[in-house]
């Protein structure tokens, strides 16, 4: 791990700073026994200097970018803090008499880990130090977060911490203390795996004595399936992913998106593909983004701009923005980039038979006819580009200064500042538009600009979103409005994070890994009330209610343990195969074959349409119970079917209906209906609390079927039972006081299932500290 490998290799030679001259080497060069580590940075990460007149900011950003280079590496009396705020430095000496000033991060396998003031962590063989220092190292308690996985990562994290610290200092605030292992493990599981740790996972971490355990668990989780689920849930809310849209199923889009996340494809490439995908939804899932809003080009664009670029243009769709500077004309000029793309494909898809489908009503009968229509709809979902952009100003266009209703609109980019036009991504668009013979490539031109590393907002928007995912609130809120990043609580930090996103080549896992390795992330959650309208400077993460998906996936974990990730919903291939008519001419014979295949598919539970009408719920429950019975008879574990309990399908939210039905736990706990972007809710309500107190989930979780309860019941002592449940639900052991008070109740006749109900209904369960 401390090697010059992989994707970082190309950016390493830029390091020219000399730190360890006295020790006989410099970063990146293995010299004697010292310094094997290589920083990740092509240059000291710089907080971009502000294009702002806000005095002070400039100064602060200068301090940050120069601070590291100007700091004398060797013992100095300057009481300068390390980038992460660490103040406990001492001078270490090696056997040749060379010295370095650093703080102690821990010992592992005969190596000592020392962090210099610039945040960089060095690994040295312990026996190269003078005996006194070796002895001292054995007795010292490691500073900060322990041993990091990667020295460059540690430095990059330290620089973010420094940025946060500057914001805090300026506001006269102090960072929170570091979170306990118990707080950390629960938080990091929820943030990266999307669920709480099992009792065993929590215990293993708490009992681990290694100094590198925090960094290790982050690395494990970041590469796990759970992360794919977690990100997919986040993106499904952001992108309004639904099973049903345009009278069709969007399974291919869902699985395409999930695959991108699983493969950790760079974000800029994922988004670019969404913007430029061609062909049928059945054959190319990536077309789902545009086809989701088929026929609503303007709505789709409005979402594209706010979701990916934080451009707050929703108002400009219908009129000049009342407060911001966007005009309606600008909006239409952006829409013109999609003006040659046809998402309607009405007349194709079924050949002559498709055209005359109406006449088949008699022959097919009502039900089969309805299915035949579904078949046609699914095959009509397709994007193709014509040669001509057909965008015109709307019928009610009222700004005579620059056009009248019906005027043709040519594509033109928005910009945030006048200087933006000098950026390469703008220049490229200009030359591409000039060169083009027709309008058939407008989408590509747009997508190249939008997803370019030098687009002024693309990297910033996704980094601010991921920051919010880790800390509970964005540096700039709302995350869909980054028109003025300097109005954020920490402009230098938001610019820096955008640069980091580019440096990491839009690798979302690497970015989240970086955030989780900061001290800021690993601090205690804020206990004070966030005052309305007060900017938040991140003394630590905020207290968050679990998202609907985190809560549900945690319930499933409590019920079946780490088997939670076994079941994967796979529907796209079957659906596409059954529905796709291909290019062959459709005959009556083929149609009937297809209808039969559709019938078979519908009968399999995964595709079954939600039962409708009276008694549907009962019928559904009965069917579920039958499936449950047959599942328990089956001794062998069958991952092709999800486990069932109490009528609930125990699979990850990402492997259930998108979105779930409105009376499902997920929806009642705030899962978005996927009509509005980013609309998951973290608020309570009376119906929700009624469900938590009396609904199906508590029934399962307070019963012996639930793994958390059965594990507790296996404990012989009452104390052991309480401890076991606390670890399952809260990832911590109860305090002596808690034990005592609960013990009384157990003596009073309360069973483990009752305590499970209590813990499930506690605020400590649903709020993440």
């Amino acid at each position: 791990m401390y090697k010059n490998t992989g994707k970082y290799a190309s950016i390493i030679p830029a390091i020219q700073r000399i730190y360890f001259e006295e020790l006989g080497g410099h970063p990146g060069i293995k010299s004697r026994n010292f310094i094997v580590a290589l920083p990740l940075q092509p240059q000291p990460p710089r907080f971009e200097s502000m294009k702002t007149s806000i005095s002070g900011l400039l100064l602060l950003s200068l301090t940050l970018s120069l601070g590291a280079a100007e700091t004398p590496p060797i013992a100095s009396s300057t009481p300068l803090l390390a980038p992460d705020g660490n103040a406990n430095f001492r001078t270490w000496t090696n056997t040749t008499g060379k010295k370095v000033e650093a703080s102690f991060r821990g010992i592992e396998s005969g190596n000592i880990f020392l962090q210099t003031r610039d945040g960089y962590v060095y690994r040295l063989a312990l026996d190269t130090l003078i005996p006194e220092d070796q002895k001292l190292a054995q007795s010292l308690k490691p500073e900060g977060l322990g041993i990091p996985k990667d020295p460059g990562l540690a430095q990059a994290a330290a620089i973010i911490d420094k940025g946060v610290l500057m914001g805090l200092t300026k506001a006269g605030q102090k960072p929170n203390p570091l979170a306990s292992d118990e707080q950390f493990i629960r938080r990091v599981y929820l943030d990266l795996a999307g669920r709480i740790p099992t009792r065993e996972e929590a215990l293993a971490f708490i009992n681990d004595t290694s100094s590198s355990k925090r960094a290790s668990v982050i690395d494990t989780l970041i590469n796990d399936d759970g992360f794919t689920s977690r990100m997919y849930n986040y993106m499904s809310d952001m992108l309004r992913v639904t099973d049903d849209a345009q009278k069709s199923k969007f399974f291919t889009y869902q699985e395409w998106l999930k695959q991108q996340i699983a493969d950790n494809r760079p974000w800029n490439l994922v988004v670019r593909e969404m913007m430029t995908a061609d062909g049928k939804l059945l054959e190319n899932g990536a077309t789902g983004y545009l086809l989701r809003d088929r026929g609503m080009r303007l709505d789709n664009l409005s979402l594209t701009l706010s979701t990916f670029l934080g451009a707050n243009v929703a108002c400009a769709q219908c009129h000049d923005h009342p407060f911001a500077d966007w005009t309606q004309r600008q909006f239409y000029e952006m829409a013109a980039f999609f003006g040659a793309s046809d998402t309607y494909n009405n007349r194709k898809g079924g050949g002559a038979l498709g055209m005359n489908l109406r006449n088949l009503r008699e022959e097919l009968g009502q039900q089969a006819f309805a299915q035949a229509r579904r078949l046609m709809y699914a095959n009509q979902l397709k994007i193709a580009d014509g040669e001509k952009n057909d965008t015109t100003l709307p019928d009610d266009y009222k700004y005579v200064k620059d056009g009248k209703p019906g005027d043709a609109v040519a594509p033109k980019l928005i910009s945030w500042t006048k200087e933006d036009h000098r950026l390469r991504c703008y220049q490229n668009v200009e030359s591409a538009l000039k060169k083009a013979d027709d309008d058939s490539h407008l989408r590509e031109v747009f997508a190249d600009w939008m997803t370019s590393p030098d687009n002024p907002r693309f990297a910033m928007t996704i980094s601010n979103r991921l920051w919010k995912l880790a800390f509970g609130v964005g540096i700039k809120e709302p995350v869909t409005d980054l028109d003025d990043p300097n109005a954020s609580s920490n402009p230098a930090l938001i610019h820096h994070l955008a640069n980091e996103m580019v440096r990491l080549k839009f690798d979302l896992r690497a970015f989240m890994r970086l955030l989780c390795n900061t001290q800021t992330y690993q601090r205690e959650a804020v206990t004070a009330e966030l005052a309305m309208g007060q900017p938040f400077y991140f003394p630590g993460p905020i207290l968050r209610r679990m998202t609907a998906e985190q809560a549900w996936d945690s319930c499933v974990t409590l019920a079946i343990g780490d088997k939670v990730d076994h079941f994967k919903m796979k529907r796209a291939d079957t659906y596409a195969q059954v529905m796709n008519l291909g290019s062959a001419e459709l005959s009556m014979e083929v149609l009937k074959e297809k209808l039969d295949a559709m019938q078979n598919m519908r009968q399999s539970s995964m595709f079954g349409d939600a039962p409708k009408g009276k008694g549907a719920k009962k019928k559904g429950k009965r069917a579920a119970m039958m499936r449950e019975a047959s599942a328990t008879n089956n001794e062998e574990e069958d991952y092709s079917k999800p486990q069932m309990m109490g009528g609930l399908v125990l699979a990850r939210a990402s492997e259930l209906r998108q979105p779930e039905r409105e009376d499902h736990f997920l929806r009642m706990f705030g899962q978005s209906d996927r009509q509005i972007a980013d609309s998951n809710s973290e608020e309570g309500s009376v119906p929700q609390v009624l469900m938590l107190m009396n609904g199906e989930a508590q029934e399962v979780l307070s019963s012996r079927q639930a793994m958390a309860v059965s594990a507790a019941e296996k404990q012989e002592s009452a104390q052991g039972q309480v401890e076991s449940l606390y670890l399952s639900f809260f990832s911590r052991k109860p305090t002596a006081e808690e034990l005592k008070s609960i013990y009384e109740d157990i003596n009073n006749g309360l069973k483990p299932g009752d305590l499970a109900w209590v813990l499930f209904n506690s605020r400590e369960f649903v709020f993440v500290q």
Binding site: D293, F323, L543, R545, P687, D754, R763, F767
Partner: protein, 429 residues
Amino acid sequence: MNASFLAQNPMSRRAFAEQLAKASLGVTLLPHLVPAAETAPAVDPKTLPGFGRAKNVIWLQMIGGMSHIDTFDPKTGDSKGARDAIQTKAGYQLGGYLPTLAKDHSDKMAIIRSMTSKTGVHASGQYLMRTGYEQRGTIKHPVLGAWAQEILGKSSKTLPSSVCVNRGPEHGNGFFSAAFSPLPIHDPEAGLQYSQFAAGQEVMTKRLALLNKVDAGFRSKFQDTNLKAYSDFYDDTLKLLSSEDLNAFKLTDEKSDEREKYGMNKFGQGCMLARRLVERGVRFIEVTQGGWDMHNDVDDGMEENGTIIDTAISALLSDLKSRGLLENTMVVLCSEFGRGPKINSRNGRDHHPKVFSTMLAGGPVKGGTIYGSSDKEGSSVADKQTTIQDFHSTVGHAMGMDVNQIVMSPSNRPFTVGDKGEVIKDVLA
């Protein structure tokens, strides 16, 4: 801040927006700020008729597109359906499927026959009818019950201020707090979901006591608004579950002939539930009735649905009247659009947003009024075109909300009750 704020203050629009952003993590109320019409002085709503005289609203939403021609705007000639219209004492005619309303309640109802909209698709039409706003992918708009809770406060100590019957809670709180989301009653017969305690009383009491003890430390550690809100929801829920008011949801408390008066179906029983909720201080109750999408055999469909609503609404109006509740309870009936004048080849009628009807009764409503008209065929507006926004503004105004008051969403966009519609003064007294 007042109407002249923008005109007088040299601050740029962007600076203004930023200041708002700083001042609001949640919604902000800006009374009487009228950005689009700085020149027109805001009218004091209290000087208009009917302001605040509807303490409660029962909102009857017909799902699928109710044929106006077969109900509240009967026609002769080719457009006419299977049944003849009925002449009422108030001087207007009603469709032949609504005999009881025609006979007993024509003096209580005001009918708007010049409603129009551009939305002919069910989902977005229903959204527009419920919220007064066009559906967008970027923001959710609140229904009137949520607006009222924001502007007028809670209407009951124990019960929620809004309830929706026969539908889920989507189209509810909009950009307001989830606490303003209507309490959904999926089936009036089944009552309030999950209101049965998970365990016997003794065990439940112990669990709750332990919950308080176990969670006390966590709750006192964090001064978080949402955390406190959760604790309040638990309190509210327990208060509700132990309250007499919970009986409002128990229709079995009513005598069976009383219940039959409303019709033993989800809509009829929903209307009865609405009456019981109004009696206990629930401000806004929506009851939906589906089955209006009559592309086929409109006569059959009308016979079924017409009878259901005729029976239920007649019983509701009679009951409200005899209990002295009609004075301050407004009953409104609406649908996402109407149905076309042309009977199609399957004896059905197709979607028709160009003109349709709504009905209002009770509270400040001027009974016996016909407002606006459609043309001879029932195809387009002939007089006094009325938008869904006007309809919303009228109901909102009657509930006591100033339709010019601007509320900023958390995303800093300005909204008003009824999206700048006009209060239809002629139907209010």
